[in-house]
């Protein structure tokens, strides 16, 4: 195993995209409405909630991993679902990292939408749901940025993926955890190669999203 590839790099890459992509989508589905609600409504404790959200930008992935690990271990409260050491656990752990990022940037984006537009939208008769949608649409560039940053965080992290995935060949091995393995085994050139693949993949995703933006599909 010194020079050989004992596992399929393509499969590892696809799994990375699947895990981090799912976490980004799930995290955005929760984070965007959450951020819009916090940003647009007035309520007691709004400032506190915003501060907590921004603080969670720096939530360490390894703690997210630890939490999911603890909860879903067989010995833990939700162990009966048996999802520890599966991609599902990895998705959940990464989703916890994506949510505050997407929510926080969405809060900032919707707050910056011109107050006059918010008033106009209301005065034209939009109810709460319609008004929120319209403001999100006005803040769309910011919201998409939030999603992209969320994806960046998910695809780049290794702590949570390693802890709750177990780096199992063919099942939970992603690019970041594979790099850890190769380094540990002393295959430095191979680890660097995987690192390059990771960068290319992340770059590719962002370029693709920019491309969609330019064609106004996003």
């Amino acid at each position: 195993m010194v020079d050989g590839v004992t596992y399929d790099v393509v499969q590892v890459t696809l799994l990375s995209l699947y895990v981090s992509g799912s976490a980004t989508i799930l995290g955005s589905l929760i984070g965007i409405p959450l951020g819009a609600a916090i940003g647009l409504k007035e309520f007691g404790g709004k400032g506190l909630l915003k501060t907590i959200t921004y603080t969670m930008y720096g939530f360490p992935p390894v703690i997210s991993g630890l939490f999911i690990y603890y909860v879903f271990s067989r010995a833990g409260p939700l162990g009966d679902f048996g999802i520890l050491f599966t991609p599902t656990a990895m998705i959940l752990a990464q989703t916890l990292l994506v949510i505050p990022l997407v929510a926080g940037i969405t809060i900032t984006s919707v707050t910056e939408v011109d107050r006059n537009i918010k008033n106009t939208v209301r005065s034209l008769g939009a109810n709460d749901r319609q008004a929120t949608f319209t403001v999100i649409k006005e803040a769309w560039v910011g919201v998409i940025t939030a999603v992209m940053i969320g994806f960046g965080r998910a695809i780049a992290e290794v702590g949570a993926a390693y802890m709750v995935g177990g780096n199992i060949d063919g099942k939970t091995r992603v690019l970041t955890t594979a790099i850890m393995l190769e380094t540990r085994m002393g295959h430095f050139e191979y680890a660097v190669g995987l690192g390059v693949v990771l960068l290319i993949v992340a770059c590719g995703v962002f370029l693709f999203m920019r491309w969609l933006q330019e064609r106004e599909l996003l």
Binding site: T6, I25, L29, F85, G186, H187
Partner: protein
């Protein structure tokens, strides 16, 4: 915004589908066995060598989780693994005693080796045994002439290292971190760190990790300076998790694994496995094997009787 509704529906469906794929499609109907083992075991490549045999014979997939010994045993205690393949006899015996397993079966053993710089400032090539070698490292360490790099992670290797210090009647807790580096890292990283000490670094290593790294040329300053003391034998055992404690484990397949890995065919596969041209493992499945006796002897008495080649 009347266009929003169909998009939301599509997205929600996609999410549900993807989460389902995550749990279901990754298991194409075959049985799975979750094997918890140590990083050094996985890194030796032994499992890549023998597991395909098991997978095809029993038409299943073995999911290998490689962590430190301490965590591997914890996985067994928490019911997160079906079977363990580890090398920490003391913890294993306790594991069985506490009822987490009904059996502990020997599989094979390899040897730890004491690694150091070719210059060998502590002169351990002349040491009579491992304990003597460690004593010399200690003396030179406190004299600033040597550095010892330790795993520091309660792994099998780390546990063995600690017992040697005890045997030498030295208290690890008193060691100064100017010469005793407790790294909390895996074997590969520890070898790299030892290499960084150029002409002063010593460590205890398993053979496989050493030979692998030596072959890729990244530890040019390190040589095997002391080996062969039976006290350095490293016993691997296979331990199925007790289904009475954790009904969710795949107990049948786990027992199949125990029987398979101790069967004569696989035992000779283990014997034939080489890394960098070197044979690493000596199979010793079966009751009352000589190696086990050796370990018992050297643990309880400081005398070494027989050497096994």
């Amino acid at each position: 915004m009347k266009d929003k509704s169909p998009y939301i529906g599509v997205i929600v469906l996609t999410i549900v589908m993807m989460l389902l794929i995550g749990t279901i499609a990754m298991q194409p109907g075959k049985q799975r066995l979750l094997l918890a083992t140590t990083t050094s075991t996985q890194d030796s490549g032994l499992l890549d060598h023998i597991l395909p045999n098991f997978e095809s014979k029993f038409n299943c997939i073995v999911d290998v989780i490689a962590v430190g010994s301490g965590q591997a045993i914890q996985l067994g205690k928490n019911g997160d693994a079906d079977v363990l393949l580890v090398h920490s006899p003391a913890s294993e015996k306790q594991f069985v005693k506490d009822g987490y397993s009904t059996s502990r079966t020997l599989v094979c053993y390899n040897q730890f080796i004491i690694i150091g710089p070719s210059a060998d400032p502590a002169g351990i090539t002349q040491a009579a045994n491992a304990t003597d070698a460690f004593m010399r490292i200690y003396q030179n360490g406190t004299d600033r002439k040597a550095v010892f790099v330790s795993r520091g992670d309660a792994s099998g290797t780390d546990t063995k290292e600690k017992t040697i210090w005890i045997k030498a009647k030295l208290n690890v807790v008193t060691f100064s971190n100017t010469w005793y580096l407790s790294t909390g890292q895996g074997m590969g990283a520890v070898l790299d760190i030892t290499e960084q000490q150029i002409d002063k670094g010593y460590t205890l290593s398993d053979q496989a990790t050493y030979y692998t790294r030596k072959a890729t040329g990244i530890i040019p300053h390190l040589e095997i300076l002391n080996q062969g003391d039976p006290f350095l034998y490293n016993q691997y055992s296979v331990i199925p998790v007790n289904p009475a404690k954790w009904p969710n484990v795949n107990a049948t397949l786990a027992m199949d694994f125990v029987n398979w890995i101790t069967s004569p065919d696989i035992q000779s596969m283990i014997a034939d496995y080489t890394v960098g041209g070197q044979k690493l493992f000596i199979p010793n499945a079966g009751p009352g094997s000589i190696a086990e006796n050796h370990l018992m002897v050297s643990h309880h008495r400081a005398a070494v009787a027989i050497r096994i080649d």
